[in-house]
């Protein structure tokens, strides 16, 4: 067998890995509970405007202009360069369904908000142009939050079923544990750093689910194969061999993926920044988890070679035993 390559005793380190992962998850969960996520306009509702000034502009001037025009509850900041300004308006108050119906005209002004703001700013400085507007009604934001959560649950459920069918229930649980681990830590990263969590980040999280699983499945596939070949070895040894077998692949694929993500991060522009950061964190954590978390959980769940042998084969074995005198 593959004695020629150096075997790293990953499973021997698993206690350390468990502590490390538990710590990361604890920090993430605490931060998510205490600090929460910096949800973007997609989820909170509100208006975001990106504008270009003909020359350099100070956010404080823009702030003053908007305050004079009677706007409240907004933030102004530079965006990318000194002539670009990003204005965020909190969702305008009292926007339950009933209010909207009662005050039809009011809802009209809400959608008009971005145009009115542009008018105010143009009145002060000629030549301001609007690059981007995102207006999301609070209801829509709420729905997206709900849908996003549901999407994650459905993705996890679909994967759980597929893995259970292809492998075995314990593998499925192991894979989900690894996935939750990756998702929670990536979310925790966003919570701790205070980076904005918008729809693209949610998409990244779902892509991470796909990616991390991809990694885990490759290792699991090898574990299944090795359980059949290395019949004499203890589960721990089989797992170790399998991880070592797939290690080069795990690292190479993570590396190529990270290469393109870095390219995306550098050149992709502001609107995919959060996406690429989320993916980079996810790929790093996912690589780690497919080595340590996914396999350690298999051991904890008490996986043995019997759990993987196809049932027909077991029946045959039983027959052979019965034939013995």
């Amino acid at each position: 067998m593959s004695k020629t390559i150096q075997v790293i005793n990953f499973m021997g380190l698993r206690k350390l890995a468990v502590i490390f992962s538990a710590l990361l998850i604890l920090v993430s969960v605490v931060s998510l509970m205490v600090k929460g996520l910096e949800l973007g306009v997609d989820f909170t509702g509100g208006t975001v405007m990106e504008m270009t000034y003909p020359g350099a502009v100070e956010p404080s001037d823009v702030r003053a202009t908007l305050q004079d025009a009677g706007y409240e509850d907004f933030t102004v900041q530079h965006f990318g360069s000194i002539d670009k300004i990003l204005v965020r308006m909190a969702p305008q108050e009292a926007e339950t369904q009933k209010d909207l119906i009662a005050k039809d005209a009011k809802s009209d002004t809400k959608a008009q908000l971005s145009n009115n703001i542009l008018d105010s700013l143009q009145a002060k400085t000629a030549g301001v142009t609007m690059d981007r507007v995102e207006f999301v009604g609070p209801q829509i934001g709420e729905e997206l939050r709900e849908k996003g959560g549901l999407a994650m649950l459905y993705a996890l459920a679909g994967i759980l079923i597929y893995v259970a069918l292809r492998f075995e229930f314990r593998f499925s649980v192991g894979a989900i544990v690894a996935l939750m681990h990756d998702v929670i830590i990536t979310l925790g990263f966003f919570s701790i750093t205070g980076l904005e969590f918008d729809l693209t980040v949610l998409a990244a999280i779902l892509a991470i689910i796909g990616y991390s699983l991809n990694d885990t499945i490759v290792v699991y596939d090898r574990i299944r194969e090795n359980f059949r070949i290395l019949r004499k070895q203890e589960p721990e040894g089989v797992l170790n061999t399998s991880i070592n077998n797939t290690l080069a692949r795990t690292l190479v694929t993570s590396l190529t993926t990270l290469l393109v993500l870095v390219a995306l991060f550098i050149f992709g522009g502001e609107s995919v920044h959060a996406f690429s950061i989320a993916m980079i964190v996810g790929v790093l954590v996912g690589t780690y988890s497919s080595i340590y978390v996914a396999s350690s959980s298999l051991l904890m769940l008490g996986v043995t070679k019997e759990s993987l042998l196809p049932p027909e084969k077991e029946a045959e074995d039983a027959d052979e035993l019965a034939d013995l005198p």
């Binding site: 009604g137 549901l150 490759v218 080069a248 694929t253």
Partner: protein, 620 residues
């Protein structure tokens, strides 16, 4: 060993060829163009074309190419900035009444590609610039209106049947009819149920003062009403978007209560909002035939008690001042066919109040003519002496005049229409005017054209850089095999672009991110295979056997790993909106095409290089 049958090479060659053909339109970037098309019954005249040409020349705006096709003028420009300026100049030169001036992206693909139906990828709004609105139909109001209609009808039927009741009121989404005792409540329910033809559910409640009958819409009726309200709004929005002059608008139903409106290339979002937010209504009035409308229009002397209107063709029409019924009294309007007159017709139904008034009017005016006026109200913000003033602008048009053959009430027909198309249009307008439910914008995403272009550039750069980095890495790490994987990766990229172009799926910035990500992940299958081959060689297998076993053993792993990613992509598609859907589509296409290129594609080349000969060492 390691030889492929000819047919496999043929398949791979064919896929690569088709992929290259359908991906090739990407090499011909679309021109920024302005499209001028005549509105209504106008035609495009030589003079107009000349005017446009001279005005553009005066402004120093260079035309790249100008062509007329099917009574439309298409003027191509070198860049989006010229295009924007030109569209403004043209609009000012020829006005907005007679011509629709729209921004457009005109394809530059050669004719032979177009004849193969090879089109460039469809760019999402975040790449080409434009507005995305999500509009919500106010269903609560629609239901309330329906309940109000019932309120009148219930009163009528109870009085007619001489059933004593204490009162009828609309409560939120249901009706309450109060009776003195259970007996009258029961006969009341029977009478109302008969009148409502199975649209209502009933329950009773005993109170201190008597019995309250609670009537609410049946679930099926509720869905029907909602669908009707939504359809009405989609029709109205479609008419208004046409007025905005957008070249490829999207108006789409989303769920039961929402409508997506996408307007590529729109600059003035304020105007778009005002036009979309306009409200329409109808007025039924008697046609005045005692004096000549043409004379009145010419002299400006309008006879007493009448008002001057115009019909759809611009001819003057005199109508009486009194309004018989208004749009909100129309409960349905549908195009049909009248067997008696053997002509297309529109069938209308009125609510209780409307049918009573209509019956009174038609009884007294048999043989007279009745006209339908379509009124559209817009709020326009205008700059008056530096102050922004909101002005209400009304546009009125007589959409139909018909003779009253006999008295009618609740339902009637407009017949004698020229074509089924006309009947259809009239029904649409009548429904639009009877708008049961207002719409409002619940989401807006606007991307300016310069940001769109910047997004394209950024996306392009990151795809190229990511691609090149992966190419270099693979070539260095896997040598000959790496170069083969790189070929497969390039083909994969071509296939993704080809499939996206063929499906005309929308490419968005997240979609480009998806392409980049796929580039990174697509090599995974090859990495799996190659690592396996290396391992087999270490295990002492001969090069040929190692290749064979490497490909064979990696296959199930690749399939498992990719199917799970595919599950995530499908979920993403099902739950995502706009741009995110684009990401999911690219991810799914990328996974599938990478399976093909990195398993079959690389194997075929590896077989060509190493197959059927003696190999002592593999360059891997």
């Amino acid at each position: 060993m390691n030889r492929y049958p000819l047919w496999k090479y043929l398949i791979i060659g064919l896929v690569a060829l088709v992929g290259l053909i359908y991906a090739s339109p990407i090499l011909f970037p679309s021109d920024h163009a302005v499209q001028v098309s005549p509105a209504g019954k106008n035609t495009l005249t030589e003079a107009t074309v000349k005017t446009i040409e001279t005005r553009l020349a005066e402004e120093g705006l260079a035309i790249k190419k100008m062509e007329t096709a099917e009574d439309q003028l298409l003027i191509r420009f070198a860049g989006s900035e010229t295009q924007l300026k030109a569209s403004k100049v043209i609009r000012e030169a020829i006005g907005e009444e007679d011509y629709i001036t729209a921004l457009n992206l005109a394809p530059t693909t050669p004719a032979w590609l177009r004849s193969l139906n090879a089109k460039p990828m469809y760019m999402g709004l975040d790449l080409r610039g434009g507005v995305h609105f999500l509009m919500e139909v106010d269903m609560d109001t629609a239901i309330k209106k329906a309940m109000n209609n019932y309120k009148d009808a219930i009163r009528d039927v109870l009085i007619k049947k001489k059933i004593r009741y204490l009162g009828v009121s609309v409560k939120d989404q249901h009706l309450e009819v109060k009776f003195k005792d259970a007996e009258s409540a029961e006969s009341g329910q029977r009478a109302i149920a008969k009148m409502a033809t199975g649209e209502l559910d009933f329950s009773t409640q005993e109170t201190a003062k008597g019995v309250t009958l609670i009537a609410s819409l049946k679930e099926s009726t509720l869905v029907e009403k909602k669908r009707f309200a939504l359809q009405q709004n989609i029709t109205t929005l479609r008419n208004r978007v046409n007025e905005l002059g957008v070249s490829e608008p999207v108006i789409q139903q989303q769920g039961l209560e929402r409508i997506i409106v996408q307007l590529p290339g729109i600059q003035d979002t304020g105007r778009a909002k005002q036009i979309l937010g306009a409200t329409a209504t109808l007025e039924f009035r008697k046609v005045d035939v005692t004096s000549s409308a043409v004379d009145a229009a010419r002299s400006g002397q309008i006879p007493r008690g009448t008002k001057l209107f115009q019909d759809a063709d611009g001819n003057p029409v005199l109508l009486r001042r009194e309004v018989i019924i208004a749009g909100e009294q129309v409960t349905s309007a549908a195009a049909g066919f009248d067997a008696q007159s053997n002509s297309p017709s529109v069938n209308l139904r009125l609510d209780g109040k409307g049918s009573k008034r209509m019956f009174e009017f038609t009884t007294a005016n048999v043989q007279q003519f009745m006209g339908v006026v379509y009124i559209e109200t817009k709020i326009r913000t205008e700059n008056v002496d530096g102050e922004l003033v909101r002005k209400k602008v009304e546009k009125k048009k007589v959409i139909n005049q018909a003779q009253i053959r006999e008295p009618f009430g609740k339902s009637f027909q407009i017949t004698g229409l020229d074509s089924p198309a006309e009947a259809h249009n009239l029904a649409l307008l009548l429904r639009a005017g009877a708008l049961a439910a207002p719409v409002y914008i619940v989401e807006e995403r606007t991307v300016g054209p310069s940001l769109g272009q910047a997004n394209i550039d950024a996306g392009f750069k990151s795809v190229v850089l990511g691609f090149v980095l992966v190419l270099i890495f693979m070539a260095v790490y896997y040598k000959v095999f790496g170069l083969v994987a790189n070929l497969a990766l390039a083909l994969n990229l071509v296939l993704i672009v080809a499939v996206l172009s063929m499906l005309q799926a929308t490419l968005t910035l997240p979609g480009i991110a998806g392409i980049v990500l796929t580039v990174g992940m697509a090599v995974d299958a090859n990495v799996l295979i190659y690592e396996r081959i290396r391992e087999e060689i270490r295990n002492g297998l001969s090069p040929q056997a190692a290749i064979n076993s490497g490909y064979g053993k990696a296959l199930s792993t690749i399939a498992d790993a990719n199917i799970t990613t595919l599950i995530a992509a499908v979920v993403l598609y099902a739950f995502g909106t706009g741009p995110i859907k684009g990401f999911a589509i690219v991810l799914a296409i990328g996974i599938m095409s990478s399976m093909f290129t990195s398993i079959m594609g690389t194997r075929s080349i590896i077989n060509l290089i190493y197959g059927n000969r003696k190999v002592s060492k593999l360059h891997i």
